[in-house]
Subunit: 405 residues, 2 copies
């Protein structure tokens, strides 16, 4: 027998640990590998030899870990060099895997992690090494192609829709109300902001306007819309994605913040404040509040979607089975068989296809004015947020399991 | 028989509607009043004749309203003139009550609302009118004197402690972590920020530092503490109250924002960003994130404390009974009989005493360095956050009941 290893990468989600637990449980059941190792802090940690044995986890520990948000194995945003540039890191990594008798490598992540899976899979094949590389999807952004959705998205969407309802009520209590702006994450795509369309009271959406990166932002149209709606209703509730862009494709806040992360992505945030200032400077009203949900939307286990947790578990379990069937260089993707009743299956997609594509929010689900989401979108969104998990409670608060790194 | 009226005032909480439901249920049971009216948008709405009959609510509607956050009857921040200045508003209000055959007036609110209760109670007595005025406590700030705590606080504290746990995990995933700052509300007192001391993993508090308005903020000491801790642990988790003040009692962010609300209170917010900039400018690290919980902490029904919801209901029910016993000009206060087992009773406190006092977080529960909370505080906090309510769910999201105003 031999061993396998799992690691996490990129930004955390509420359910990313569930995928590790799914893999662990599947292996406990079919006993395919002697040991399930975890690489701490992704590729970066593995290259530093930072590896632990998850097989020794007790049932209780596994269960606590399952309901613990954020990347429990640690994460990284480490980008491997192009193979043509240098094979040094690749050789080092494969050496470490060989030394630990590892026959399968699982990476839970988004586009960048699938890039790593593709490169490692190729290089292993080229060097004749029998190690399988399988990607497990994870991102709250829901922007991976060839999968109906990504684990992590459902819980983020549920948190966004729930807090949209609550902040809408909070911003509607006075005779003279103001304008409330809820800012979600979503650098390139509008899935997260769009999910606020589920927030409805008496069947009516609470969001007057939802702005996505997929629609070029027009300041004049925005101010006309908001002014008009404020006149009619004496309050306006706006949901906006951090990644709003102008007609030239530039982030509307880019001028104000020039910092970039390691992958060259612009560090965003602050769109809510930007819109708030636009409104105030246009003398529509001075009563404008803006709230950035920030990292809460990706770690709010207390508001997680149970189906999302289940699905995260299942892709982890499928990853193990797909590796055992001899597949390598693929990501496990979710195929929606039907929305009602909600039914899915798992398929494999080449990891490099995932790495080099972005799934945008479909134009056909955006209204004609480009400032809200059509009701049809509910069929897509609603099944992804169903059910609430029974968290383990200790001293009236969720009990979370940490692994020292 | 005759009628009574209830209204809400000040900032919303997650459980403020429960107090209205408590009163309604108590009246349905003992049938003391023909009708329970609601004044919409507090005193301001009543003065405009904006009154509805709650007695016609169905059981289902009452139950939905109970689990709806934010001031469902609408709110106001209307301050009545001093009696010596003019009796016009008082006469108008009492006239409206008389016209509707109202014998008891209930006001759910904080200090300012109790000021209104005291003034109206006095004026009614002086003019020989037999209308009882009773205050029902409500504020997430927990800063009312002579009551062990205020309904609304427990749910806010639970949300803060829960999100402290979650954001702590989110900010601990990389090899090179940074500094995370969680900003809570709390203009004058540190109860909300202090409640983050409940956030513990393996018995250890997640917050390295908790800063309250009760301790004069010393920039040099802050930077020394943070620099030292960051050196030791490679990450620092900080909780801070929006109302931080310097040794002269001035809000440390006051220089940057000069806007004030109707009561002359400085409009705060932005302490997190302020500290973030301090840290970055001191070259401790550039990896600093700051998150303002904002209005979420006062409306997050999805993370409410069940005991808080129950207690909000009970103070509403007690208010009705105290009025029937002939009391007027008082607020219902909660007396803690014991922490373990948790047991409370209700007493009456003169409303003007509440109006003119502020309950600060006790110095004896703050550590010697003034930068964290002692473990003893758990005995006070923990009973207030116990249990989770069974919310009514519709399309996988909480179902909330609104009243058109």
């Amino acid at each position: 027998m031999a061993n396998c290893i799992v690691a996490q990468s990129g930004g955390p989600t509420a359910v990313i640990n569930s995928s590790v637990v799914g893999l662990l449980k599947a292996n406990n059941e079919i006993k395919a590998f002697d040991k399930v190792y975890a690489g701490l802090n992704g590729i970066e940690g593995i290259l530093n030899g930072n590896i632990i044995d998850l097989s020794s986890f007790s049932e209780d520990e596994i269960n606590e870990f399952r309901y613990t948000p954020s990347s429990g194995l640690g994460s990284c945003r480490y980008k491997m060099k192009h193979l043509e540039e240098s094979t040094e890191e690749y050789d080092k990594l494969l050496d470490i895997l060989k030394c630990n008798d590892i026959k399968a490598f699982f990476y839970v992540g988004g586009n960048d992690s699938m890039d790593t899976i593709a490169k490692l899979g190729n290089y292993a094949k080229k060097t004749g090494l029998d190690i399988k590389f399988i990607g497990i999807p994870k991102t709250i952004d829901n922007d991976l192609m060839f999968t109906d959705h990504t684990p992590g998205f459902g819980s983020a969407a549920k948190f966004i829709a729930t807090t949209a309802l609550e902040t809408y009520l909070d911003s509607s209590v006075y005779i003279n109300n103001g304008i409330f702006i809820l800012e979600t994450m979503g650098r390139d795509t509008g899935w997260l902001a769009a999910s606020a369309c589920m927030a409805r009271i008496n069947g009516e959406p609470v969001a007057d306007f939802i702005y996505l990166p997929e629609v070029a932002f027009d300041i004049e149209k925005f101010l006309t819309d908001v002014r008009q709606r404020f006149k009619e209703k004496n309050k306006v509730f706006i949901v906006v994605s951090e990644g709003l862009r102008n007609s030239e494709g530039k982030f509307i806040t880019e001028v104000e913040s020039q910092s970039h992360d390691k992958f060259g992505h612009a560090q965003l945030g602050g769109v809510g404040s930007y819109l708030k200032n636009l409104i105030i400077n246009s003398s529509i009203t001075t009563r404008v509040k803006s709230l950035e949900l920030g990292v809460l939307q990706r770690c709010a286990m207390h508001c997680a979607s149970n189906i999302d947790l289940e699905e995260a578990l299942e892709v982890g379990s499928s990853a193990l089975k797909f590796a055992l069937e001899g597949n390598s260089g693929y990501m496990v993707a979710i195929k929606r068989e039907s929305s009602s009743p909600y039914k899915t299956s798992h398929i494999l997609v080449e990891a490099d296809k995932i790495a080099n594509n972005v799934k945008y929010f479909p134009t056909k689900l955006i209204n004609e004015e480009g400032n809200n989401i059509k009701e049809e979108a509910l069929d897509y969104f609603l099944p992804l947020i169903s059910g609430a998990p029974s968290l383990i409670i200790d001293n009236h608060l969720p009990k979370f399991k940490t692994i020292s790194k």
